[in-house]
């Protein structure tokens, strides 16, 4: 971390984030735990002194640093050193030859955040930034509204940082995701209702109690952590951007932040001009953003009662839905949605071809990629990166009945030999 100290020198203190800015009216705010404009409720976005960053940050300097998300720390909104999630990020970008063959495309890559540390999803990236920032602001109690992966990550990272955590989740969430939150000592509040109802209650709690909720009052900082997925993709490809990225959409922030990452790298001169079509993936049982793109609607129509096995993407009223749909349109991408059956099949295909067990959201992303290829929206000779954001071990129930049950035998060699003679297993 010493080179960070050496390179700091922005005119606004120690970091390079200069202010927050409303995405609707452009009004600027000092850096503070605030997620919306007090004039028009528009979302706030972190702005940086890119000229100062461009003066101090080079490809070589980044490459010399440890392979984790903090190698891009000048482009993250902290004033001091990161203090939470020091080992997050640095996940593999895998050339997926066998899957490419199955899909009938030439160049396919998988960004595999199913093995992110410590809680096996991309959410560790956003939480590392949000909780480091929470500490800078002096919060002792943090929280979130979550469909599961964020719950795991806030709980684990808060435990390691010695922060008290209140985690709001839908009461019917997968058991593995609830246990994988409670184990860290977080207070888990199961709300009887949809994610959007959980989110509403958490918003009210955040406002009334003055705690640091990572995806509410700390959301502007939190969301910036997702950029590191984009930085890592570009660096791993040899400092360039692919022709297509397919990303899952829940709240709709990730897809926008990956694109922001590419744009920032260009702005500070680390990559050249690029053209990347951003494609969004949702489940048909909760597809407000994909629906907005497909019907040409500017504002998404919220989904009152999501109904899909992919609970991690089941946000019926996505906060960044408007911006995600706009980005997809602007970059010439598209958004699609897939059925539960297509999700299960894609999960199995990914596992059988690449040895990657992704959660249901990974099945959504892959199944949508297949659809986009079949529709001709992704050319078979064009380069594609698909973003796998969570681990299948958390959503194992989804594939019960889809994969083969074990063959049970008596403990004898003959019994095994008899199994081999069964044609179904050849």
């Amino acid at each position: 971390m010493t080179d960070f100290l050496a390179t700091r020198g922005s005119p606004v203190g120690r970091g390079y984030a200069t202010n927050l800015r409303c995405r609707v009216c452009g009004k600027r705010y000092d850096i503070q735990p605030l997620n919306y404009c007090t004039d028009d409720f528009g979302p706030l976005e972190v702005e940086y002194d890119y000229a100062a960053i461009a003066r101090v940050l080079t490809r070589e300097q980044i490459e010399r640093r440890p392979y984790n998300m903090w190698r891009y720390r000048e482009l993250l909104p902290l004033d001091g050193e990161p203090t939470v999630g020091m080992q997050v990020g640095g996940t593999p970008l895998i050339r997926a030859e066998r899957l490419a063959e199955a899909l009938g495309v030439e160049r396919l890559w998988i960004k595999n955040d199913a093995v992110n540390f410590p809680t096996l999803s991309f959410k560790d990236r956003v939480v590392a930034v949000a909780l480091s920032k929470a500490r800078e602001f002096g919060f002792r109690t943090v929280g979130c509204a979550s469909t599961g992966n964020l719950a795991n990550s806030v709980a684990a990272n808060a435990a390691a940082a010695g922060l008290e955590a209140y985690i709001f989740v839908p009461a019917d969430l997968e058991r593995a995701k609830i246990l994988g939150t409670s184990v860290y000592g977080a207070k888990v509040i199961g709300v009887t209702g949809t994610y959007d109802e959980v989110n509403r209650v958490a918003s009210q709690v955040a406002m009334e109690y003055g705690w640091g909720f990572v995806n509410i009052n700390l959301r502007a900082f939190y969301a910036e952590g997702s950029k590191t997925m984009g930085f890592e993709i570009a660096e791993a490809l040899g400092w360039r951007v692919p022709q297509h990225v397919v990303a899952p959409m829940a709240g709709g922030a990730l897809i926008g932040k990956i694109y922001k990452a590419f744009s920032e790298l260009q702005q500070i001169g680390l990559i050249g001009e690029f053209a990347c079509r951003m494609h969004g993936a949702q489940a048909s049982g909760c597809n407000p953003i994909a629906d907005a793109v497909k019907t040409g609607r500017e504002r998404h129509k919220p989904v009152r009662k999501p109904n899909t096995i992919c609970k991690s993407l089941a946000i019926g009223d996505p906060a960044d839905g408007y911006f995600a749909a706009k980005l997809v349109r602007q970059t010439g991408g598209y958004a699609e949605d897939v059925s539960d059956e297509e999700i299960r099949k894609a999960m199995v295909l990914l596992a059988k071809t690449e040895g990657i067990f992704a959660e249901t959201a990974g099945g959504v992303t892959l199944a949508v990629t297949q659809k986009l290829i079949e529709q001709g929206r992704i050319g078979r000779d064009e380069e594609v990166v698909i973003c796998i954001t969570g681990n299948g071990l958390k959503t194992q129930d989804a594939i019960v009945g889809t994969v083969e049950e074990p063959t049970i035998i008596k403990p004898s060699l003959d019994a095994f030999a008899a199994v081999l003679e069964q044609p179904a297993l050849v």
């Binding site: 609707v24 997620n35 919306y36 007090t38 004039d39 028009d40 409720f41 528009g42 979302p43 706030l44 509204a145 994610y195 959007d196 109802e197 989110n199 509403r200 958490a202 918003s203 009210q204 955040a206 406002m207 009334e208 909720f213 995806n215 509410i216 959301r219 829940a250 709240g251 709709g252 922030a253 504002r299 919220p302 009152r304 946000i315 009223d317 996505p318 906060a319 960044d320 408007y322």
Partner: protein
């Protein structure tokens, strides 16, 4: 009982510090109009120049989003709690 409008902390400056404002009205539209009548500074916070409700403001009646009801025409009978909340959260 009058309808109560629950005011988010960032708007309480415009309501003289009040967290809950009793209003009258047969619909959400009328209830919000009464809120504006009592606290005119709230007008530009809730509505844009063309009079439309701000895109990133959600309105709930007894915990139900008015987009799932009848939007601003959602009827009120007199005991409801109307909650105003910034939409930019979660995900």
């Amino acid at each position: 009982m009058p309808v109560q409008i629950n005011i988010p902390p960032q708007l309480r400056e415009q309501t003289g510090g009040q967290a809950n404002v009793p209003v009258s009205g047969q619909t959400v539209r009328e209830a919000l109009a009464d809120l504006v009548r009592q606290h005119p500074a709230v007008q530009t916070k809730l509505f844009d120049e063309s009079g439309q409700l701000r895109r990133f403001l959600n309105v709930f009646v007894n915990e139900e989003d008015i987009r799932y009801l009848e939007e601003l025409d959602t009827p009120l009978t007199g005991n409801e709690v109307v909650v105003l909340l910034p939409a930019v959260a979660g995900g």
